[in-house]
Amino acid sequence: ISQHAIQRCSQWRCYASASSAGLSQDKITERVMTVIKLFEKISAEKLTIESHFMKELGLDSLDHVELLMAIEDEFGFEIPDQDAEKLNKPSDIIKYLCEKMEVDYK
């Protein structure tokens, strides 16, 4: 009986580390830039990693919200409001995602 109980009670908790999931800063960068390029309100020529969404790419706040929602859907977790306000460039987004997913940011 005790054997049975031990087998039933044992829980395996695996926290996947970022490296095991195959994430690196380059992969994150690639995914983020793909998502942003698919956004039709942004012209691909003006887009660089440092281009500001509102000032250079001409997005307004609702467009910014839509873009962040696309990134939330891509990476699978919610970005809270106070963090979302600060993410104004693709490089900010990449840095934030690296911090959240515990990938080394260079």
Binding site: S61, L62, V65, E66, M69, D81
Partner: protein, 127 residues
């Protein structure tokens, strides 16, 4: 005399009691969260109500409804608009509405005035 008048004037100018949000930052967050909630609900609305709409059409309509109130700056008015939008979202999401209510968002409310001669004639205006 003048001091009594002064205190009366100071009492008369009070701050309006806030509805939900105290600052415009708060109100902005509420608006953006409402937009997010509607945006996420749109695919389910299309599927559940079986409306003859596409997702881009719905998104444009959502954006249009938000742009209608872009110029509003009064925090209490913004809060009330957000509350009304939230109520609409709850009613739509719970399926308390019907297909016609959802299609009502796409109803034209202003009939365009006729410009050509026949249009004006049928309308009763003298040319």
């Amino acid at each position: 005399m003048s001091s009594a008048g002064g205190t009366l004037i100071r009492q008369a100018v009070k701050e309006a009691k806030p509805v939900f949000s105290a600052t415009s930052e708060d109100a902005r967050r509420r608006v953006l969260n409402l937009y997010r909630a509607w945006f996420r609900q749109l695919p389910y609305i299309i599927r559940e109500y079986d409306v003859p709409l596409t997702l881009p059409m719905c998104r444009r309509k959502l954006r249009e409804n938000f742009e209608k109130y872009r110029q509003v700056n009064d925090i209490r008015v913004i809060d009330l608009l957000v509350a009304k939008g939230q109520m609409e979202l709850v009613e739509t999401a719970h399926m308390w509405k019907q297909k016609t209510h959802v299609m009502d968002y796409f109803k034209q409310t202003v009939t365009p005035k006729p410009t050509d001669f026949l249009g004006k004639f049928f309308d009763g205006k003298e040319p």
